[in-house]
């Protein structure tokens, strides 16, 4: 029955699980004493010894007997109608109580012929278990020979120890045996270094070694069948009943026997994956699953998105192509437009030059015949060529007036054209404003006196130099003054000049026909002579005031009118004073190069 298995793979043993059998058992015979409580076969109560050898038999954390043997006996008891009474103690105490008859059954007892003499055994073993040497991790124990000289902890009175002793003796090994009451103490001693190795059954070892920091060695021996041992002289045929049940239980794979074996060996005994590893595994598994599923989903989405992107890309490329084409076309059009524009600009510039040339030519060509008309009329009236009669003089006077009117018309039109073409040049130089005003007033005085009008001049003492185009300023004043004379039949005309901050304010006030409010707005617009019903009476192009306005504004001043219909008007304009800001003025006015003489500024031409 003894066997020694060395150097066999651990996994192999794990798979074998519980199987074998041990035979030798040194039975300690105890003297039986104390109270004898004969086990009665018919008794309802069956006493069962309990000791600590998980998972075969042990007391669980709640103090309740548990394990393979307990489950099997409870199953049998349930069917047989027994009351089970458990008596806890050590292995040795249990055996002792059985001998004394204090208990009826002791679980987990290996059969030997010696024990047969003391106890009654049933025939069918509950289970077979190997014995194995356990040692601290990394002990280096590879065979039974490595145990030479070691301190080996073992439970006393066990077949296991008996067999082991015989084995070591046969190999001539020197072993120091350390007896222990139970496996728990044994493992604690090995872990504490008080023993080098220990003997246990494989089921206990598998269950507890890892927790104690121990590991199983390849030294495995003595597969032994274990039974319930009954008191030798007990009646009630307990062994027979147990055999009968075991026989039934072992036939049915779904029986309580296999359930117990499975629960206490397969589950607990199986190599336990640490919780953290299990959790990690689960987490990893879930992660893997999710990643696989996610990967699939993602791949699908990526594919879909890739297709979409490809489509979008194609669309974009197409659009870009179209856009590029459009841009090219636009560019071509733009170039064409620019060329057209350049041509147009050249044309415009050419047209501008033509216009300037035309103005110059017109000026010359119109004035040359007028020169003759006005000139010869003049000398005839002056009678330089000989005496003329009154009627002739009157007629020649009409010719002269019409010619002068025509001349002023031409001059006005040319002026306006030049102003609107931006070709009017102004020359700004400081001049004495008072003298200038006086000159204009004197030129008009004959006309005023002719009509019997008073012409007064009020110039403040602080009037100094003005800084605008002198001739253009005179042109404006002359125009206003001529109008005043023209539209006033009685009363007088007053010219005043005062200083207002940096500017001079010049006013021409008359007691003439006045202007209606509705007409005031249009007064300074070109080609507008107010329809007074007296139009024919008052000559004029209707350009005078609009030219005045533009000239004054070009010179940086303002012009305006206050009037009361039927009572008279006051026309006013401002002239920039020479207050050391010529430079500023020059910057503001684009036309400051040259001025030119004008007919209107010539007192004789009106």
């Amino acid at each position: 029955m003894n066997s020694l298995i060395v150097n066999i793979q651990k996994k192999y043993f794990q798979n074998i699980a519980v199987a074998c059998y041990s035979a030798l058992f040194a039975l300690l015979t105890f003297s039986c004493f104390a109270e004898t409580r004969p086990a009665n076969a018919d008794a309802r109560t069956v006493s069962v010894g309990v000791y600590q050898n998980a998972p075969k038999v042990f007391t669980d954390e709640f103090g309740k007997p548990s394990g393979i043997f307990i489950e099997i006996i409870e199953h049998i008891a349930k069917i047989e109608g027994w009351n089970l009474r458990y008596v806890s103690g050590t292995w040795a105490e249990g055996l002792d109580r059985l001998v004394k008859g204090e208990i009826d059954l002791m679980p987990d007892v290996a059969y030997t012929s010696d024990r047969e003499k003391t106890y009654s055994f049933h025939k069918i073993p509950v289970m077979s278990v190997w014995s194995q040497v356990y040692a601290p991790r990394g002990s280096g124990i590879q065979s039974i020979l490595d145990l030479n000289g070691k301190r080996i902890a073992a439970m006393e009175n066990t077949i296991q120890l008996e067999t082991f002793t015989r084995l070591t003796n046969s190999f001539g090994l020197k072993i120091t045996l350390i007896p222990v009451p139970d496996y728990k103490t044994e493992f604690e001693m090995i872990a504490a270094g008080k023993a080098d190795a220990g003997l246990t059954n494989r089921l206990y070892g598998l269950m507890h070694a890892r927790k104690s920091g121990l590991e199983d060695t390849p030294v495995m021996f003595d597969p032994a069948p274990f039974f319930f041992a009954a008191a030798k002289n007990a009646s009630g045929q307990l062994p027979e009943i147990i055999d009968r049940h075991l026989s039934e239980l072992k036939k049915d794979p779904k029986s309580a026997y296999y359930a117990a074996m499975k629960r206490w060996t397969s589950e607990d005994v199986q190599f336990k994956i640490p919780a953290w590893l299990q959790i990690s595994g689960i987490v990893l598994g879930i992660a893997l699953f999710i990643s696989l599923v996610g990967g699939g989903v993602l791949k699908h989405q990526v594919n879909a998105r890739t297709r979409e992107l490809k489509l979008i890309n194609q669309e974009m490329e197409q659009r870009i192509d179209e856009r590029t084409l459009t841009l090219k076309e636009t560019n071509l059009k733009l170039h064409a437009a620019l060329e057209d524009l350049a041509v147009a600009k050249e044309r415009a510039e050419a047209a501008d030059q033509i216009k300037s040339a035309f103005l110059a030519t017109m000026s010359h060509e119109l004035r040359t015949p007028l020169n003759s008309i006005i000139g010869f009329t003049g000398i005839l009236i002056q009678q330089l060529g000989g005496p003329i009669n009154e009627e002739q003089s009157k007629q020649l006077g009409m010719v002269r007036n019409s010619a002068n009117h025509l001349l002023s018309l031409i001059s006005d039109i040319l002026d306006l054209s030049k102003i609107e073409a931006g070709q009017l040049s102004l020359i700004s130089e400081p001049f004495e404003l008072k003298k200038s005003i006086l000159r204009v007033v004197q030129s008009v005085r004959p006309l005023a006196e002719k009509k019997g009008l008073d012409l007064t001049l009020e110039v403040a003492d602080d009037i100094g130099t003005a800084c605008v185009d002198e001739r253009r300023m005179e042109q404006v004043l002359l125009n206003l003054l001529s109008n005043a004379v023209k539209f006033t039949e009685q009363g007088g005309i007053r010219v005043s000049c005062v200083c207002e901050e940096k500017n001079y304010l010049i006013c021409v006030t008359d007691t003439g026909i006045g202007i209606k409010d509705v007409d005031l707005e249009r007064l300074f617009m070109p080609f507008h002579q107010i329809d007074t019903g007296l139009s024919r009476k008052y000559e004029g192009t209707g350009l005078g005031l609009s030219i005045c306005k533009k000239l004054v504004e070009l010179m940086g001043g303002k012009v305006g009118v206050k009037s009361e219909y039927g009572k008279g008007s006051t026309f006013w304009f401002t002239v920039r004073g020479d207050i050391g800001d010529e430079h500023e003025y020059f910057q503001e006015s684009p036309m400051h190069q040259y001025g030119k003489q004008k007919n209107q500024s010539d007192p004789g031409s009106q």
Partner: protein
Amino acid sequence: MKKKILYIEDNEQNLYLVTFILEKHGYQVFAAMDGQQGIDSAATVNPDLILLDIQLPLMDGYAVARQLRTNPDLADIPIVAVTSYAMAGDREKAIAAGCNGYIEKPINPDTFMQQVEQHLPCREE
């Protein structure tokens, strides 16, 4: 002795008109129909005043004025431009070319003599 006035003018009507007025006012008028003739006449006649039309054939009035001013013998003779040019800068251009005065056409018979005589150094009458 009558004062001598040289009138350089290509337009016959103007020439006649001005000559008539000037002669009526007691001046001796020399006429020239183009610029070169005018320059030549100026050198020979040595007038008291030159009336100069600007728009002349072959050589315009500005050029004539400039050339007259290059002759030291004639440098003191006043030159008055008489022109129907009325565009911006005409007056300044005339002055820059060497003219002393500027009379715009059409002339005003009432003031013409006054305009001319103000450029004569002094009057005998």
